[in-house]
Subunit: 258 residues, 2 copies
């Protein structure tokens, strides 16, 4: 992508959970995290969803942490037998995982002393070398081990962990974008849009068809690293729209708005 610079900060997201793959639970975390990272200047490049199977998690974590600045994971850090993420992360890094005193102290704020059972203390097991990510809701922490950020799967808990860890992360310049909704099918827009992209290599033009009231339309999204490039390409797009006689309106360009 032309908006890539040497200081681009990239990320992958690894969603851990059999319930997503079986279709039982509709994932809510991917869209939230994608929009969040885009806003703060971290480019999400890849998402993977795997089951709660240690070997699968180890393989995915090791593939992704080599390739991207950060790897975020969600899920599998609870107290039950099918929560295997911490063992997998420890194995991926070749370290042990032990009950962490700071994690226990945090959990004591939430649980009465009798409630801190061996099962719950599993949630205080943290891989060696990791720093904790506190969560104000249920207190059992996530953690950051080198460039891998391990979070809960429950959306509200994941969200407080993300807020907590983000100040510690490097960020790039946020990619900015503008969208235009064109009431014409992609096939009509493709030739002038292809020419426009070729003439504006400094921006990235995406074309997203939709199907509404039995008619096909297209959202065109222009992404750029700076306002001047964005404005120039957007102005050229509106010229093309007028020349071609398309009906079009500016569309909401906030990440997560579509």
């Amino acid at each position: 992508m032309t908006s890539e610079t040497s200081d681009t900060v990239t990320a992958a997201l690894l969603v851990i959970g059999e319930e997503i793959l079986s279709g039982r639970t509709r994932d809510e975390n991917v869209g939230y995290i994608a929009a969040y990272l885009t806003r703060i200047g971290i480019a999400l490049r890849e998402v993977r969803v795997v089951a709660d199977v240690e070997a699968d998690i180890v393989e995915a974590v090791n593939a992704l942490r080599e390739r991207y600045t950060y790897v975020f994971t969600t899920g599998g850090i609870g107290p039950t037998h099918d929560d295997v993420t911490t063992d997998a992360i420890a194995k991926a890094f070749g370290v042990g995982a032990n009950v962490n005193a700071d994690a226990v102290a945090a959990m004591r704020q939430h649980y009465k002393s009798g409630e801190l059972s061996p099962a719950r203390l599993r949630m205080a097991r943290i891989p060696e070398g990791a720093e904790l990510i506190h969560n104000a809701i249920s207190r059992a922490p996530g953690y950051k081990l080198q460039n891998v950020i391990v979070m809960a799967g429950i959306p509200r808990v994941m969200q407080v962990m993300l807020d907590e860890v983000v100040p510690r992360l490097a960020k790039g310049r946020p990619i900015i974008s503008r969208s235009v909704r064109i009431d014409a099918p992609e096939g009509d827009i493709a030739p002038p849009l292809g020419a426009l992209q070729a003439a504006h290599p400094e921006v990235q033009m995406g074309s997203y068809p939709f199907f509404e009231k039995n008619r096909l339309g297209t959202h065109v999204v222009i992404r750029a690293a700076d306002e001047a490039s964005l404005d120039s390409a957007l102005s050229a797009l509106w010229t093309v729209i007028a020349e071609e006689g398309f009906e079009a309106v500016p569309a909401d360009d906030e990440p997560g708005a579509s």
Copy 2:
């Protein structure tokens, strides 16, 4: 997993689309496809989301098609410059991609002759050796090349393609499941549930916490390949619930219901 048998049919899903990674569009296809495949006896084992970048798609397709019975892809088969899926699939298989006469014939049912522009004819380019997957909505076909099934990204179009291709696929015995909603946090349920799983290795027990009205609760899902195993494990779960004094109710166990 203990429900695995030699005739288990597995799948991966590859979602292709920058708009998902930027957070602009919330994916609707993963949950739909996951629930659909589960119902018909195809076990979805992995999902990946990558951008519209040829090299990334080639790498993911080649990794996944070696590993699973089927690979489903969504997105990137439209007429615009950022639709690179067909070139990537052809490259992954080391074959060419040419305008396919049957695909053009199908598209003539939808487009007037003057509308079949070079841009639209890009949608009739099909990798050599692939069989078409017709779509009654916009006519531009998907296709199946060996074990890789290439579909559109627009949910309604993807859905008709899925209906069209599924009769041609091998299916295993559908995994059946029952869910119980327990109004207790996972930490309280973990010890008896772990013991129950150990006593019933023929089923898979999953535990999914939720956070509702400021209280933590847990859905326990039991999955099995046959009714007898399922009933036996479910009955044992209800015994444990009574012994522990948990409040619990049967929950909807349809894939996609949560």
